[in-house]
C-alpha cells in the first residue's frame, strides 16, 4: 500500500510486519520515532504476541535481545551513535554467540563534541564486530532491507544491522510502498532457531573456549559472513519477484559502463551523487557511481568487477578513521584488481557530511571535477574551512592553555 510517511514509521511498520516477539527500546536520537511507533503498535495489541521492553541502557537493550534471541524469539531493537558504542561489548557477544538479532542503526555522529546529526562513524566503528551491515539509500529501501534482514539473520544465525541515515532518512516524509502482511509472511519463514534455551533439550551457550578451538570458532564466523555474499543476490531477486521492486543486493552500479571515474558511496547521499553525476554526464563527463548496500561482509568480488574499468575511484564517505583517513576507501583499495594496482589506479578519499554537514551538488561537482583533472588530493575533507583550522592550530602553538577544542573552533570562526 502506498503511503506518505516518515522514514522511522515506515521502518516500524516493516518490522511489525515481520512479527518480532521481543522488542527492546532505549531512546536515543534519531532512532526514537522507530521504537515509539513500535511501542504503540505493540501496546494497541495489533502485534501479538510481542513483548516491548523499555530498558535502562543500550547495553541492556542488546543484552535483553541476546537473552530473547537465545530463548528462540524473533528479536529487534534500534539504536544510534553513542548508543551503538555503549552496546559494543554486547554486539560482539551477539555475533559471537550467533544470535540472529535485527537492529536498525539510525546513523549519527559520535562525540566528542556531542553532535546529534548524521554521519556513518557509529556503524563504521563497529564494522568488525561480526554483524552484517546493510546501508539503505532511501526510505523504501530501509523498509525493504528490514524484511530481508530478518530472513538473512535467521537463515545464517547471524545478527544484522540495517543502517539508515539519521534525520535525512529517519525523519523524512516520503512515499513508500508498505507491503501486505501476506506478502511478508510469504517471504519470511517462521523463525526456526539453530540453538535455543529450552528445558526440553538443555544446552550450554557461551562456554569458555581456549586457544585449542578459538580460531575455529572465529573462522566459522568469517565463513558464515562470506556465505552472505552468495545468498544476498538470490534473495534480492526473490524479493523483486515477491514485492515487485528492487531492494538489497550487494552493490548498485549507476551509469558505470563507460565511466572512467567511479564514485563509491553508501546511504542516502547516493541520491545527491547521482544527480551530480547526471549533470556532469550531460556535459560529456565519463563518470559513474557504485552504491554499496552490503558493507559487511565486504562484497569484494562485486566491487572488484565494478571498478575494473575505472581510471580513478573517488570514495565519498561519511566516516573518518582518525590517523588513517577513509574507512570505506580502505576497504575499496583491497578490492582493486592486480591490473588496476599495476596501472596505479588512484582511490581518492573524500570525507564529507561529518556531523550532518550538508553535502551539496556544487561541492561534489568541484571534487569530482578535480579528480577527473587528477588534481584531487588523496584525502580530502569536503568543504573544510581550512583557514579556520589554521587559526586554531596557530592559537594552539602560541597559547599553552588553549582551552576546549570545540570552543576554540567556534570562537575563531569569522
Amino acid at each position: 500500500m502506498l503511503k506518505q510517511t516518515e522514514g522511522s514509521h515506515a521502518v516500524a511498520e516493516a518490522v511489525a510486519l515481520c512479527r518480532p516477539e521481543v522488542i527492546c527500546a532505549y531512546p536515543i536520537s534519531p532512532q526514537t520515532h522507530i521504537v515509539e511507533a513500535l511501542g504503540e503498535i505493540v501496546k494497541s495489541g495489533a502485534l501479538a504476541p510481542c513483548e516491548f521492553i523499555n530498558v535502562e541502557s543500550e547495553f541492556a537493550a542488546m543484552s535483553v535481545a541476546i537473552g530473547a534471541s537465545a530463548a528462540g524469539a524473533r528479536t529487534y531493537t534500534a539504536t544510534a551513535s553513542q548508543g551503538l558504542l555503549f552496546m559494543a561489548e554486547a554486539l560482539f557477544n551477539a555475533s559471537g554467540l550467533g544470535l540472529p538479532i535485527v537492529m536498525t542503526v539510525a546513523n549519527r555522529a559520535i562525540g566528542a563534541p556531542i553532535n546529534i546529526w548524521n554521519d556513518h562513524n557509529d556503524s563504521m566503528s563497529q564494522r568488525d564486530c561480526g554483524w552484517i551491515q546493510l546501508f539503505a539509500e532511501t526510505n523504501q529501501e530501509a523498509l525493504d532491507l528490514h524484511i530481508q534482514a530478518f530472513r538473512l539473520a535467521e537463515e545464517l544465525s547471524l545478527p544484522v544491522m540495517v543502517c539508515m541515515d539519521g534525520f535525512i532518512l529517519t525523519h523524512a516524509y516520503e512515499r513508500v510502498d508498505v507491503p501486505s502482511q501476506s506478502q511478508v509472511d510469504g517471504y519470511l519463514p517462521k523463525f526456526d532457531p539453530r540453538q535455543v534455551l529450552d528445558p526440553r533439550e538443555p544446552v550450554s551457550i557461551g562456554a569458555m573456549v581456549g586457544p585449542e578451538a578459538f580460531t575455529e570458532v572465529r573462522y566459522l564466523a568469517h565463513a558464515k559472513q562470506m556465505q552472505v555474499l552468495e545468498l544476498i543476490p538470490g534473495w534480492a531477486a526473490e524479493f523483486r519477484r515477491a514485492f515487485g521492486r528492487d531492494a538489497g543486493g550487494l552493490v548498485h552500479p549507476y551509469a558505470i559502463e563507460d565511466a572512467e571515474t567511479v564514485v563509491v558511496a553508501l546511504g542516502s547521499v547516493l541520491g545527491t551523487v547521482k544527480d551530480t553525476v547526471d549533470e556532469m554526464r550531460a556535459r560529456g563527463a565519463r563518470i559513474g557511481v557504485l552504491g554499496v548496500t552490503c558493507f559487511r561482509p565486504w562484497p569484494h568480488a562485486a566491487v572488484r568487477s565494478m571498478l575494473g574499468g575505472a581510471k580513478r575511484v573517488v570514495v565519498l564517505e561519511k566516516s573518518l578513521a582518525v590517523g588513517l583517513g577513509g574507512i570505506v576507501s580502505t576497504n575499496v583499495r583491497t578490492s582493486l584488481s592486480d591490473e588496476a594496482h599495476q596501472r596505479g589506479t588512484p582511490v581518492h578519499t573524500v570525507i564529507a557530511g561529518l556531523g550532518g554537514r550538508a553535502i551539496t551538488k556544487a561541492s561534489l561537482e568541484r571534487a569530482f571535477a578535480a579528480a577527473m583533472r587528477d588534481e584531487l588530493d588523496p584525502t580530502t575533507f569536503l568543504d573544510l574551512d581550512a583557514p579556520l583550522v589554521e587559526r586554531v592550530l596557530l592559537r594552539e602553538r602560541e597559547v599553552r592553555r588553549s582551552g576546549p577544542i570545540a570552543e576554540n573552533v567556534l570562537k575563531l570562526r569569522r
Binding site: V22, E51, F59, V64, L197, P199, G206, M208
Partner: protein, 332 residues
C-alpha cells in the same frame, strides 16, 4: 513415612538432623532424584563456597519449578569453572553472555518465554558480587524496577576472586585484597564504603529479597523455594566464603559462613515488598575476632600488633546489624 515430631538435638554445629525431618522439608540434596544441575567434575577450588551455594540453590529451584528452569550466568568463577570448553557441568539450559548483563539477558529470556506462552519455564540469573554489585548493577536495577519475572542470585564472596582477589563494592572494611593492600595507616579496604545490595534491592519494592549463607543450606533451599512462589523480580544474596581469596582453610568454608552470621556481620533475613518479614536469630553470639582471625585477608589486624581500633570498628558494624535487624532476642 508416618508423622514424627521433630526432635531437635545438638550436634555441635546446630544442624538439625535431616533424617528426622518430614520428607517434604528434607534437603533437596538428600533426595536421590536431585537434578545435579551443576554436576560434578567442574573445576572449582577445594572448599569453594560458590560451587556449594550454586548446587543447592539451582537444585532447589529445579525442584520448585518441576525442572522447568533456564539460567543466565555472569562472567566469573562460576562461569569459568563450570564450562571450560568442551565440557559443561550444567544439566539445565544455561547461557553465559557477558560480565555485566546477566540480569538483562534473563529479562530477555523471560520476555521470550512469555511471548511464546511458556511462562511455566522460570528464569534465574546468577553472578558473583562483582558481576552483581559493580559491573552488572545497572542491568540488575533495571530488571528490578521493571519487576521482570527473574530470580537473581548473587553468590557473594566479597571480592573479584576469578581475576585474582581484587576489591569489589561488596568487600568488607579492613579486608586485604590485591587492590586494597594491607599497608599504610588504614590497611586493607577502607571503612565507610561499599554497597548493601539486599537493602538496595528492597528499595526497589520487588516482591521478594532474601539473604542466606552456605552454613544453613536448609534455609537457603527454603528461600529459593519461597522465591519461586512469587512472580516478578526477586533477589537472593548468598554469602559464599572463598578459601583462596579469604585465606582460610578449605575445610573451614561452612564455619566461616556460620561465623559471619553468628557475629552479626552478615544478617540473614527475608523481605517481601520492601519490608523485612523474617530474620534468622543469632544462636550463640561470637565476637568478630573469632571470624576475622582464621582469615589471612584480616591477618594484618592481629600481627605484628593487634589493631584493636580497627577490630572495634568492625565489631561496631556487627553490633549495628544486630540492633537494626533484631538478630538477638527471643523467637521471631
Amino acid at each position: 513415612m508416618a508423622f514424627q515430631p521433630i526432635k531437635y538435638y545438638q550436634t555441635g554445629t546446630f544442624t538439625v538432623g535431616n533424617r528426622l525431618l518430614p520428607p517434604e522439608t528434607r534437603s533437596v540434596q538428600a533426595d536421590l532424584r536431585r537434578t545435579n544441575s551443576l554436576n560434578s567434575g567442574h573445576r572449582a577450588c577445594q572448599g569453594c563456597g560458590e560451587a556449594l551455594g550454586a548446587r543447592y540453590a539451582i537444585d532447589a529451584a529445579m525442584r520448585a519449578t518441576s525442572n522447568q528452569l533456564v539460567a543466565a550466568n555472569a562472567t566469573g568463577c562460576l562461569e569459568v569453572f563450570s564450562t571450560p570448553y568442551p565440557e559443561t557441568s550444567w544439566q539445565i539450559p544455561w547461557i553465559h553472555s557477558l560480565f555485566g548483563n546477566a540480569a538483562a539477558v534473563a529479562t530477555g529470556i523471560a520476555a521470550a518465554l512469555k511471548a511464546k506462552g511458556r511462562e511455566e519455564v522460570r528464569v534465574i540469573a546468577q553472578g558473583g558480587d562483582g558481576g552483581t554489585t559493580d559491573i552488572g548493577f545497572g542491568c540488575l536495577s533495571g530488571m528490578f524496577e521493571r519487576n521482570d519475572d527473574v530470580l537473581y542470585i548473587c553468590y557473594d564472596n566479597e571480592a573479584y576472586m576469578n581475576t585474582g582477589v581484587q576489591r569489589s563494592s561488596a568487600t568488607p572494611p579492613a579486608a586485604r585484597t590485591a587492590t586494597t593492600m594491607a599497608v599504610g595507616k588504614e590497611p586493607g579496604n577502607l571503612f565507610g564504603q561499599g554497597k548493601n545490595l539486599p537493602l538496595i534491592a528492597m528499595a526497589h519494592g520487588i516482591p521478594y529479597v532474601a539473604t542466606a549463607t552456605v552454613a544453613e543450606l536448609h534455609d537457603l533451599e527454603a528461600k529459593v523455594k519461597r522465591a519461586m512462589e512469587f512472580r516478578g523480580a526477586r533477589y537472593l544474596h548468598i554469602l559464599v566464603p572463598c578459601p583462596l581469596g579469604w585465606g582460610h582453610a578449605s575445610d573451614a568454608t561452612i564455619r566461616m559462613a556460620r561465623l559471619a552470621k553468628e557475629t552479626g556481620l552478615f544478617p540473614v533475613f527475608e523481605a517481601e515488598n520492601g519490608e523485612v518479614t523474617q530474620v534468622s536469630r543469632i544462636r550463640r553470639r561470637v565476637p568478630v575476632e573469632d571470624y576475622l582471625k582464621p582469615q589471612r585477608r584480616f591477618a594484618h589486624l592481629f600481627s605484628p600488633a593487634v589493631r584493636k581500633d580497627l577490630i572495634a570498628r568492625i565489631q561496631d558494624g556487627a553490633d549495628r546489624n544486630i540492633a537494626k535487624y533484631g538478630l538477638m532476642g527471643g523467637p521471631a
